[in-house]
């Protein structure tokens, strides 16, 4: 969290995650080159490596793009999200190896600057089928570099999470460029590999379907919050699972209403659903050790005031709540981040809805 930056906040899970990525990449490249040597006797080892790096980057990019919606659909995928940035950096490194070796092999020995050669060796910018696919790959590589280079939390704090997230949404532009790069490259190759086109289509359809389904499922209910209402009836107390939340749309953004155990009985508190770290969905997290814990990276906030426990300094807006006749009423006007809002007290029995 925000106490002091470190290069990487290593822990056992992150090391395990990164070792798995590294082992997966090595196994994939070994298999790709091994099978290539056995089945494509005319292909050089350099060509197989270039294609292996590119295929690995494309595969990892699909994994990166699938993790978000998968986590929305099933929380069992959340461990994959935990260290997704390292997966993104690995994708860039594979793409860099692919691009670097390609430029060296195909553009490094001419009279032109290799980068000029990439942009100008195929001048068919006015043709759809003969469009210079290498320029598209180069542009995608620049985007992947920008995303990898700004993946540290320093950038989140100094660009702010909404700007950082908008910047990192450009990954979809990179994905489109890479799809076009691969498709045009295949189309312009003498052998025209149809299997690759089919795989690309399946990959794109899979990513698009996951995003559509997750987006449909994610729609938050908007309770009747007519202007002038001082409190909005959002749900019954028993609708909220213990130590978890239900999410509602209030004041043009999602609000997470938590029911949690505390000293002397259960409480209900409401906070903005948006984690200050990467704008993760706090309402999909749990209350752990008395703190709301973001499901994405474990950032924590106290339910009653939206402050991270010391020494951390993140704060989120809170909402005033009360319980009347087993119904949870939330004031739709957000309190400034870090403002104490007295939680509604429910007594000791689980699910009891005593008025606060």
């Amino acid at each position: 969290m925000s106490a002091e930056y470190q290069a990487v906040l290593w822990n056992r899970n992150k090391k395990l995650y990164d070792l798995t990525i590294a082992a997966g990449v090595v196994v994939f490249l070994g298999l790709f080159v091994g099978i290539g040597v056995a089945t494509r006797t005319q292909a050089t080892i350099e060509t197989l490596l270039i294609r292996g790096f590119g295929a690995g980057a494309l595969l990892l990019l699909h994994v990166v793009l699938a993790i978000g919606p998968l986590c929305r659909l099933d929380p069992r995928f959340l461990p994959l999200l935990y260290n997704r940035r390292h997966l993104g950096v690995c994708t860039f490194l594979l793409a860099l190896a692919h691009g670097g070796f390609s430029i060296l092999q195909f553009h490094g020995l001419g009279v032109l600057n290799p980068l000029v050669s990439v942009l100008a060796s195929n001048g068919n910018y006015d043709s759809l089928s003969q469009f210079p696919f290498q320029a598209l790959g180069l542009l995608a590589l620049v985007i992947l570099f920008l995303l990898a280079a700004t993946s540290h939390d320093f950038w989140l704090a100094n660009l702010t999470a909404p700007v950082w997230k908008s910047l990192h949404m450009v990954v979809y532009v990179a994905y489109g460029l890479i799809l076009a790069h691969v498709a045009l490259g295949s189309l312009q190759a003498p052998e025209r590999p149809t299997a690759l086109a089919v795989l690309l289509g399946i990959g794109f359809a899979g990513i698009a379907s996951l995003h559509l389904v997750a987006g449909w499922r994610e729609r938050a209910p908007a309770p009747d919050a007519a202007a002038g209402h001082s409190a909005v009836d959002v749900c019954a107390v028993s609708d909220i699972p213990l130590d978890r939340a239900r999410i509602f749309l209030l004041a043009d953004e999602r609000v997470a209403v938590f029911r949690y155990r505390a000293e002397g009985g259960e409480r209900i508190a409401a906070v903005s659903n948006v984690c200050q770290h990467q704008n993760g969905p706090l309402g999909e997290g749990r209350v752990v050790d008395g703190c709301i814990t973001c499901p994405w990276h474990g950032y924590q906030y106290r339910p009653e005031d939206g402050c991270s426990p010391p020494p951390f300094t993140e704060t989120i807006p809170t909402f005033s709540v009360r319980v009347e006749r087993d119904r949870v009423l939330v004031d739709p006007r957000p309190n400034p981040p870090g403002t104490h809002a007295e939680p509604a007290r429910l007594g000791t029995a689980s699910g009891a809805g005593e008025p606060s």
Partner: protein, 92 residues
């Protein structure tokens, strides 16, 4: 303009931009980063090294903030904006 000439201009502009960024980045990660972000003041060499490529890429943003002596900006979203507006009305 021929395609080769246009490509040369694009590559030249990018090279100049990156060269300026590479010249700026070491000074920024050494002295500037702690000025704009207190959490970076006593951060180690590894952190400074890891942000270096991004600093070289986004150097105009950081240079402007360093010169203005600004701290990290406040995040904005619908709730934070509404809360700030409410607090402003209360203090008026």
């Amino acid at each position: 303009m021929s395609i080769v000439r246009a490509a040369e201009v694009v590559v030249l502009l990018c090279t100049v931009y990156i060269a300026l960024g590479l010249a700026f980045a070491p000074f920024f990660v050494w002295r500037g980063v702690g000025r704009i972000d207190p959490a970076a003041r006593s951060a180690g060499f590894g952190f400074r090294l890891i942000i270096l490529p991004g600093v070289a890429a986004l150097w105009p943003v950081l240079l402007r903030r360093w010169l203005a002596g600004r701290r990290p900006p406040s995040e904005r979203n619908a709730h934070r904006d509404a809360a700030a507006s409410r607090a402003g009305q209360a203090s008026a």
